[in-house]
Each structure stands twice: as structure tokens, then as C-alpha cells.
């Protein structure tokens, strides 16, 4: 952009013009043998085989020593079709091999922890649900559990069961997006359409129940915002019938597909020791062989009543993470079926009038109910001073909420431990000494959601 040229400069030399005549300059490059190809002789039978691809010389990875200054630092993102949001990677490449990489985050930083200090405890759900936007119910559940622990209240069994139903369906929809984007990034573009097609049926159920397809603000401290709609069992039964058959189709497409296996087996390996040292949780940890699921170890919201397995992998590569996610969809559907069959009757929110608003009809009848309603919706309920850390198992790993209250109606400090934040720290070690083309598959298999990372 050299539009600005001062008046003095143009006035100084009005007659001299810079002319460049092609071919008169000195050549900067003296041609060498470097980079020249080896032309194979015509009469070698092997040349035809090489052209047809019957014989492949695959030793390009173990080339001769490359000089230090031949490393190239390139930038991937933040605007990139395959980085799952605004993730920026700085890659130091030696040819096609990545020697070092550095994830640079912060391009989606929304100041949610500061905003949480301005909103009162029952408004906090609106803020928190937008962190991990693919699993909004899990965010709300973690936050509500933390606030309820500070308040010292327990939700009724129906509320707990409803929470399990919604979060497990959310796990299914989140893993479907993970499969869809994983497939699309590796090249199976039809997976994108299939994944989102299944997701639509689950989102339709969410819209019927909560009013929104995403970012629901439905699970609140004290219970839920409303009861399940009439006829919810038919909708859930339809989902339960539909999705396993479709999952079988995806297995046909991907599970034993030689192209898929070639691109995902042995790629992006994280060992169990590395995973534990870096604080990685969720499917990447389970694919490495560590059987750790917060729903089994530190159960919450009554999930210990339902029977389900925790799938684990063996090698910790991209293929194992994909299998773990598909198996987790099956397990979540099992849980949903059990919840549907055994949903207890009762209240969907706790009865404590200091926390949950009274039913609208009571406001006309009782002065006390009116006062409670007024105080709850102007100031909000006050939470006794204290601090707590509650973690739930989100589709990405351990999603933890550290909430500190000093006795007011707004949190003094709310910190979210995002699973993708910790999982991204492992990217440099998984991508070291691997090929550039495997980067996309590795990132897709870690399934980061940048809203969770940057908050």
C-alpha cells in the first residue's frame, strides 16, 4: 500500500522514470544440480510399474540430513476450514514433517468469566451454556451442580433423571458432529451430511422441550426450567429407533474402510502416560487405554442407577478415538432408553421458594409468593459464602466448574476448566515428527471446541 507519496517526492523528480527492461538484469540464481530429477531410462520395466503405482518407493520420510535453515515456519489458521473453529497453529516444517508446533488460542475469548461476575446465579446459565456450544446441557449441568452444592440443596429425582436424559442425548448429538467433521476433514465428505441429518432429529426434540435448538439455558440451579412436553416418550422412542440403524450405515462406510484405516491408524498417537501427564480427559484418554469416566468414578445427578459400559481403546490413535466415540453413542442411547423407561414422577425443580420461583397461579393468591417472585427476579437468590469444584463428564472430557461465592447474589469468581483447553496442550507432542497431512486428522480427532478453550 504505497498510496501515500508526499508532494515533495513527486515534485522532486518529475522527469526521471524507473524503467525495467526484461532480460537486462543480472541473474540472481546460478543453476545447480540441486532439485534436478532423476530421469529413469526408458527400457527399465520398473518405470512402468512405478507409473502405474504397482511399486512405490516410500522412503521419502527418511531423507538425507536437511540443513537447519531449511525449516519453514508456516501458519495454519485462525481462519481455516479444518481447524474446528478459530485455532491457530504455528508449524515448523522440515519438508513435509512437522518438527515443532505451537497452538495459539484466544481468538474466541469472550470474557465469560468476567461476565459471570455481573450476572446473578440463575442468569449464569445463559452465560455458561455458550462455552462448549456443542454440549450446552453439560455446561449448564456442571454450573447448576456447583451452585446447588453451595446452596446445599438436592434436586428431586425427576429433575435428576431429566437432566440425565438431556445430557446423554446431548452427548449423542455432540459425538455426531465430531464424527461428521472428523469424516469431512479426512475426506469422507458424505459423513458431514449424515452426521448433521441425525442431529436434526435430536435438535427437534430439544426444540420441543426447551424452545431452542442450541444454547438452551434449561438446566438451572434448583432443577429445570420446565417439565418435559406431552408425548416426549414417542419422540425419544423414534430417536432410539432411528439412530442405531444409521450408525450401522456409518460403520459400513468407515469402520473397515481401507482408506479410513490407512489415514487414521497409527496417526496422532497419545500414550496413556502422556495423556495423564498432560491432564487429557475424555475420549482421547479412553482411547489410550485408561478406563476413566467421571460418570462411573464420581457419579452425579443419579447416573449411577443406569447400566452402561465405558468403551476404551488400545493404541491411542485417531482410529481408536473414532471407535470410542461411536461406542459412546451406543452407550448413551442405552442410558436414554433406561431413563425413558424409568422416569420418576414428581417435581422438576426443588421446592425451596427461596431458590425456585413459585408457580404463576400462586402469585395471584399469596402475598408471600409475590414477594418471592419479586426478589428472585430482581435481585436473585443469595448463595452462602463458600467455594466448590464440580466436574461433569462432557463429550470432550472433564468439564469442571470452580465457583466462589461471598454471600451475594452474584458469583465472586467462576472459573471453568474446559476439557478442550487441556486437550489442546497435547497437540504439539502428538504432531511432532509426523506428516503435515496428518495434522488435520489429529486435530479433528481431539475434537476441540474453541468456545470451551477460550471462554
Amino acid at each position: 500500500m504505497t498510496d501515500e507519496r508526499t508532494a515533495e517526492e513527486t515534485a522532486e523528480s518529475p522527469d526521471t522514470v524507473d524503467l525495467w527492461v526484461a532480460g537486462t538484469e543480472e541473474s540472481q540464481f546460478s543453476p545447480t544440480e540441486e532439485g534436478a530429477q532423476e530421469i529413469a531410462r526408458d527400457d527399465s520395466g520398473r518405470r512402468l510399474d512405478e507409473q502405474f503405482g504397482r511399486v512405490v518407493d516410500d522412503d521419502y520420510v527418511f531423507d538425507d540430513e536437511i540443513a537447519e535453515d531449511e525449516r519453514m515456519i508456516i501458519n495454519m489458521g485462525p481462519q481455516h476450514p479444518s481447524t474446528h473453529g478459530v485455532l491457530r497453529l504455528q508449524l515448523e516444517l522440515e519438508g513435509e514433517i512437522i518438527r515443532r508446533s505451537k497452538p495459539i488460542i484466544g481468538y474466541l475469548h469472550t470474557g465469560m468469566e468476567k461476565t459471570a461476575e455481573q450476572l446473578n446465579f440463575s442468569q449464569g446459565g445463559t452465560n455458561v451454556t455458550r462455552m462448549d456450544y456443542l454440549a450446552p446441557f453439560h455446561n449448564e449441568l456442571g454450573y447448576s451442580l456447583a451452585v446447588e452444592r453451595l446452596l446445599g440443596i438436592e434436586v428431586p429425582p425427576r429433575a435428576a433423571a431429566m437432566r440425565v436424559l438431556l445430557t446423554e442425548l446431548n452427548r449423542v448429538s455432540s459425538h455426531l458432529v465430531a464424527l461428521a467433521t472428523n469424516g469431512m476433514d479426512v475426506g469422507a465428505i458424505s459423513m458431514m451430511l449424515y452426521g448433521f441429518r441425525e442431529r436434526e432429529s435430536i435438535l427437534a426434540f430439544f426444540e420441543k422441550t426447551t424452545g431452542l435448538r442450541m444454547n438452551h439455558n434449561f438446566i438451572r440451579p434448583g432443577g429445570l426450567a420446565a417439565d418435559l412436553p406431552v408425548g416426549w416418550k414417542d419422540d425419544v422412542a423414534a430417536i432410539l429407533e432411528d439412530i442405531p440403524a444409521r450408525l450401522a450405515q456409518y460403520d459400513d462406510l468407515l469402520k473397515d474402510n481401507p482408506i479410513w484405516i490407512l489415514r487414521t491408524r497409527g496417526v496422532g498417537v497419545i500414550s496413556a502416560e502422556e495423556a495423564i501427564a498432560y491432564g487429557i480427559t475424555g475420549p482421547p484418554l479412553r482411547a489410550a487405554g485408561v478406563k476413566w469416566d467421571l460418570r462411573k468414578e464420581f457419579p452425579y445427578s443419579g447416573i449411577e442407577k443406569y447400566e452402561f459400559e465405558v468403551p476404551i481403546g488400545t493404541q491411542g490413535d485417531v482410529y481408536d478415538r473414532y471407535r470410542v466415540r461411536v461406542d459412546e453413542i451406543h452407550e448413551s442411547l442405552k442410558i436414554v432408553e433406561q431413563v425413558m423407561d424409568s422416569m420418576p414422577k414428581g417435581d422438576y425443580r426443588v421446592d425451596d421458594r427461596k431458590v425456585t420461583p413459585p408457580p404463576r397461579a400462586r402469585i395471584d393468591e399469596s402475598m408471600e409468593a409475590l414477594i418471592h417472585h419479586f426478589k428472585l427476579f430482581t435481585e436473585g437468590f443469595k448463595v452462602p459464602a463458600g467455594e466448590t469444584y464440580v466436574a461433569v463428564e462432557s463429550p470432550r472430557g472433564e468439564l469442571g466448574f470452580y465457583v466462589v461465592s461471598d454471600g451475594e447474589a452474584k458469583p465472586y469468581r467462576m472459573h471453568t476448566r474446559g476439557p478442550s483447553f487441556a486437550n489442546l496442550q497435547a497437540l504439539p507432542i502428538t504432531m511432532a515428527d509426523s506428516l503435515m497431512a496428518d495434522t488435520v486428522a489429529t486435530i479433528a480427532s481431539m475434537d476441540p471446541v474453541m468456545g470451551d478453550v477460550d471462554r
Binding site: P78, Q79, H80, P81, G85, V86, G106, Y107, L108, H109, T110, G111, M112, K114, T115, T126, N127, R130, Y133, L134, V177, M192, L193, F196, R197, R199, E200, L203, R213, M214, N215, M450, G451, D454
Partner: protein, 155 residues
């Protein structure tokens, strides 16, 4: 727009043809940032199909795109990146600000977000919602098509 002079009548028809071609094959640039990006992907997927409007090809390179759907919240760190991508798009280009956070900062009125992407780029259509459903986004895109066809937006 339509003049009575015979010489200009031909140009007007050409302009109408050009507008028709532009609307029927808009290529969106991938600028999905946050939750709205998921709804944008859902709009491009099978159920709410954007391909019937000629828009299923989301071009990653801004040089090949002419519509930038800013889907999501724009943070202070992302603002220069957004401006650079917008500058790289060739004319004619249009911007749809999708969602509350892109239109006005949304529910996050704080230090970290640019309060509305129209502080940085010129916006043609604002689509409200948090996130706007695929139907709202399509309504916004089709409104943009109408505006281009009618000549209201002249680039």
C-alpha cells in the same frame, strides 16, 4: 434504474443479468467462529439445504468467495484477522452478520468482544438470534438476494 434512452436500456438488462448471476451462485467464505457456525453448517447440511440456492460450496480461500457470513462472536484478537479476510475478498462482496454477537456484541457487553462486526466491516444484512435457526439464516440470505436483484445494493 431503467431509463428511457435506448442506449441505456441494454445496459440495464445486462446489469439485471449480472445481478441474477451473482445471486444465484454466491460462494460463502468460511468464517464460522462460534455457536452460529454450527447452525451455519446445519443450514448447509441436508435438512435445510443451501445448495438449492447455489451456495453449498463454502470457499476456504477468501479470494474465491463473495459472501462473508460472520457467524459468531468477534473477539479483539480476531478483529484484525476478520478485516484482513474481508480485504482479500474481491468486489462485489457482501457481509451477513449472523447472530446477536456479530450484530451487536450480543449478551457479552464486555472488554473482550467487538460490539458488533459493523465496527470493522460494512454489513448488509443482520440476522438476529442466539443462534438464529437455519430458517432465519436462510431468510436473511434470501433477503440479500432480493436486495441485489432489485438493485438496492450497488457494488
Amino acid at each position: 434504474m431503467a431509463t428511457t434512452a435506448p442506449g441505456n436500456l441494454l445496459i440495464t438488462t445486462v446489469e439485471r443479468a449480472a445481478n441474477w448471476a451473482r445471486t444465484r451462485s454466491m460462494f460463502p467464505a468460511t468464517f464460522g467462529l462460534a455457536c452460529c457456525a454450527i447452525e451455519m453448517m446445519a443450514t448447509g447440511a441436508g435438512h435445510y439445504d443451501l445448495a438449492r440456492f447455489g451456495m453449498e460450496v463454502f470457499r476456504a480461500s477468501p479470494r474465491q468467495a463473495d459472501l462473508m457470513i460472520v457467524a459468531g462472536r468477534v473477539s479483539q484478537k480476531m478483529a484484525p484477522v476478520l478485516r484482513q479476510v474481508y480485504d482479500q475478498m474481491p468486489d462485489p462482496k457482501w457481509v451477513v452478520s449472523m447472530g446477536a454477537c456479530a450484530s451487536s456484541g450480543g449478551m457479552f457487553n464486555n472488554y473482550a468482544l467487538v460490539q458488533g462486526v459493523d465496527q470493522i466491516v460494512a454489513v448488509d444484512i443482520y440476522v438476529p438470534g442466539c443462534p438464529p435457526g437455519p430458517q432465519s439464516l436462510m431468510h436473511g440470505i434470501l433477503t440479500l438476494h432480493d436486495k441485489i436483484m432489485s438493485g438496492e445494493i450497488v457494488r
